[in-house]
Symmetry: C2
Subunit: 412 residues, 2 copies
């Protein structure tokens, strides 16, 4: 019935029971899941994984649920694309794109964490799920709540992209728009969590929720043929994903599923919200909160909950942090589209553009194998591309009209 | 090296070589692929398929390419969701949703046909691919051309949804907007195909292209545990998909992969463009062209190329054709979102709403197993949902503001 022994404080090591709690009552450190790795090692192998379903649940013993998944049965195991055209454009030999823009059901990596969180919410007996979100999480919580037959109440900052708002409402949630930044919304939710007995996926369920992201790292290692890349470039918002990829790689090594972890982890941010990359560049142990101002709204978290751990992960791995302007974000989105036929949201533009910058800086070397993380879908951030392309040529429905524009030099 | 012997006229049976041709020069019938089924039967089995990749290429011997796929390596094998909540809402026991809204790379079933078509374009040595499209095909051709390193020139009717336009441009194509309906655009492309040596995926490559859709049918049968459903509800645009699902089921039976085909096939259209369902209801052998007027733009084809064959398929199977109003389309989109957490485009709203109508008519029975085809992504047709939801409650970032709206009855 699962391999979770309990929770444990990441700082002081105090143990807690399997409950919807997330902060150590002694030192205020974050709680993390304490797994029975000895038990897991008896049931997991490359073969057991390969014989599993083509979803994140092929790694079920390493995910913090006690029974079968209640939702998200088809989430994960998204393509790891060998991006030959992008590699050429970047002057690299081997580039892979881990493409969660087609993740099931709501087209971002958030479906991984929410599949776990909503399953836990059901296991704990909650009747309502909730979250603070920059958009993708809102989509995913709303969809999974619908699938689970739970109520949901979702908090977003005002001014989100239309795609992210409609793709939350269509699943029938109660959506609340807060006049403030994501960080304001998050603080508000922490308060509400004190007075309403709801499963806030990224607050009281956070310890379990976060570990859903490990599946993204497991998949990279498995899909590369049971090894980790030389470099992985990860978008940083709350800074959880970057730590979980690192954790996933090391769990695989400790379980003997891969030989070694020799990966440099790179944090990618938009310059308009770059607390983590700024801290890394300045050699700080932790980040200073910032007020976000970027088109990359899905990663516009000025005070990342796991900022300290994200910075530590990057440093421990020998990686680096970089950030790019909004113009570079758009160029990154276009570059990925034009070279690989993959349409990512602004956050994916960030990772592609940061990868380019890291290559130019010599931090990523031509002979190395690099994985670029694409965690969301371009259809959700259409606003970012407004007026970024020439209007299509408009013709009459006859061949003369076409031949006229063609001979006048539409370039095909 | 593939199992395509050549092409054959669907009407008079005349044989043709494997070339980019699509019309019989004797009787003007459409050409279809002539497979070496004896050869295929020697290499294909349930096991060979299950051991294949989690993509449409697990059925490669049954797809009309000669070498390895050149693009779309990750296309297909999308989830077949057991939709328990939707079933309950419809008063049925077993409903499955075949969900191509997460298809790779451009989030519709068109990636299946285009993966084949662009591979064929490369095999034939074309340097440019082209198509007439209502949107989804444009997205897919543009993306696959980028991946293949081919040029592309894509024709759409004016007035398409913003998501479909941007999701074509981002891949770096030459996009041409034609003042007219899809049918006008299609006629124009047939003319251009006479004077430009391009691979028009749905004209001169059509015989090969169309067979990519068979994978959608193979997957339904495999994912149901090697059997076909009692009913399948299919959106009808050009009327090709519905015939290919039927063909796929019968190929599986003829190869001994399934025991029997006892499936009623239902054609789903929007009332504002319903030539096929109208013909079926009236007992006509073929459709009368109509001028489309519906929000379901992706299936707004007034003169479907395979209308005759679609009608025949429905009739041969003992199925029926139905159509629904634009209001019902929106209700269908909402119902699927609220019950299953799946966000489909307008065409998916059509199939859900038509399914509901067929249940009410008694044509689909409660004890039967029904598959509802969802072939595209709701993020591409956001315009259809404009003003269809109440605005989110807006609050200040403090708990008093929340408790005020909460106590005033936001319903969670």
């Amino acid at each position: 019935m699962g391999y979770v022994k309990g929770l444990r404080c990441k700082e002081c090591g105090k143990n807690y029971e399997k409950l919807p709690v997330h902060v150590c009552e002694y030192c205020f450190g974050p709680l993390e899941v304490d797994y029975d790795y000895e038990g897991i090692s008896k049931v997991i192998s490359r073969k057991s994984i390969q014989d599993g379903p083509p979803s994140m649940w092929r790694y079920q013993p390493l995910l913090p649920i006690d029974g079968e998944p209640q939702v998200g049965r088809y989430t994960g195991f998204t393509p790891l694309i060998e991006a030959k055209n992008l590699a050429k454009a970047l002057g690299l030999k081997k580039v892979y794109v881990k493409n969660d823009s087609v993740n099931h059901p709501t087209f971002s990596f958030k479906d991984r964490v929410v599949s776990v969180a909503v399953t836990k919410a059901k296991e704990f007996g909650f009747d309502t799920v909730s979250c603070a979100s920059t958009g993708n999480l809102a989509n995913s919580v709303s969809a999974h709540a619908a699938e689970a037959g739970l109520k949901s109440c979702i908090f977003i900052p005002v001014g989100l992209e239309q795609g992210k708002v409609l793709c939350t409402q269509v699943y029938g949630t109660q959506l609340i728009s807060v006049r403030g930044s994501y960080d304001d919304v998050n603080r508000l939710c922490s308060e509400i969590a004190g007075s309403h007995q709801w499963a806030f996926v990224n607050i009281n369920i956070r310890a379990y929720y976060g570990d859903g992201s490990k599946s993204y790292g497991y998949e990279i290692a498995e899909q590369l043929g049971w090894r980790t890349p030389d470099n992985v470039v990860v978008p940083v918002a709350g800074s959880s994903l970057i730590t979980k990829i690192w954790k996933a790689f090391h769990e695989f090594k400790d379980l003997g599923l891969i030989d070694k972890v020799n990966t440099k982890v790179f944090a990618a941010q938009a310059t308009g919200c770059s607390p983590v990359s700024t801290a890394i560049k300045n050699g700080w142990d932790t980040h200073k909160p910032v007020k976000p101002d970027t088109i990359a709204k899905s990663i516009a978290i000025g005070n990342p909950a796991d900022g300290f751990y994200g910075i530590k992960t990057v440093r421990d791995s020998g990686g680096w942090g970089e950030d790019v302007t909004d113009e570079e974000v758009i160029e990154g989105m276009k570059l990925l589209g034009e070279t690989e036929g993959v349409f990512t949201e602004t956050a994916g533009g960030v990772t592609v553009a940061v990868t380019k910058k890291l290559v130019e800086q010599g931090r990523i070397k031509p002979d190395e194998l690099t994985v670029v993380c694409v965690t969301g879908n371009g259809l959700k951030t259409l606003e970012a591309l407004d007026n970024k392309f020439a209007e299509p040529a408009v013709i009459e429905p006859n061949i003369h009209s076409f031949e006229e524009v063609y001979s006048n030099g539409i370039t095909v």
